[in-house]
Amino acid sequence: MTQVNAFVQEMNQAGADWQLAVYGGAMHGFTHETGPAVPGVAYHAVADARSATAMQNFFSELFG
């Protein structure tokens, strides 16, 4: 979380319009249905669906 906190601090200092989404249980590459069999990398269907919805909501906010 050290890097995450540093990122948040950097965004705040820059005055950026930012948001941070964290998906519990999801690992790296969680949207890759057919990802590589590598430790720490795994598909996560719930996080994939939730992040897709969040992205669409973000676009609705941007583009109306």
Binding site: A16, H32, S51, F59, L62
Partner: protein, 146 residues
């Protein structure tokens, strides 16, 4: 010349077209996706691939966004011969991680293609990274130019 592919759904036809472009001396290849049956002006979306490079995952995400009605360009952050080669991928990641100005400029090259290639695409385009949370491109405000 760009290759053209058409995948037909129930109510739409999504076109996919590969586009060769450059960022400085780096040769890049990206992919456009759009609903060919819509002629109205639509927002443009830039898709930036994950660490492995531009392959079927980001291209599939681009197609999904095109199905939602956006004009989408899946850009390439790595030059020719990098995707599929772990050593070159890691070297490219390190290069862009250590030079955030170059990282933003390379994404900007993709935005320029998106905006200029299709005349009807408005300039107010939104970024997305389909991969996961992680290192951020920061294309909206680009506050991190160093």
């Amino acid at each position: 010349m760009p290759a053209k592919d058409r995948s037909e759904g129930l109510h739409m036809t999504i076109n996919a077209q590969t586009i060769a472009y450059r960022h400085g001396d780096t040769e890049l290849t990206g992919q456009f996706a759009w609903d060919a049956e819509r002629g109205d002006q639509r927002p443009g979306i830039l898709v930036v691939h994950g660490g492995a490079g531009l392959y079927s995952h980001a291209q599939g995400r681009a197609n999904r966004l095109a199905e939602l009605g956006f004009v989408v360009f899946a850009c390439a952050m790595y030059g020719r011969g990098v995707a599929g080669n772990r050593e070159r991928i890691m070297a490219s990641i390190a290069e862009l991680r250590d030079d955030t100005a170059k990282l933003c400029q390379r994404a900007r090259a993709g935005i320029d293609v998106l905006v200029s290639h299709l005349p009807g695409v408005p300039r107010r385009s939104g970024p997305t990274r389909p991969h996961d949370a992680g290192q951020c491109i920061r294309p909206r405000n680009e506050p991190s130019r160093r």
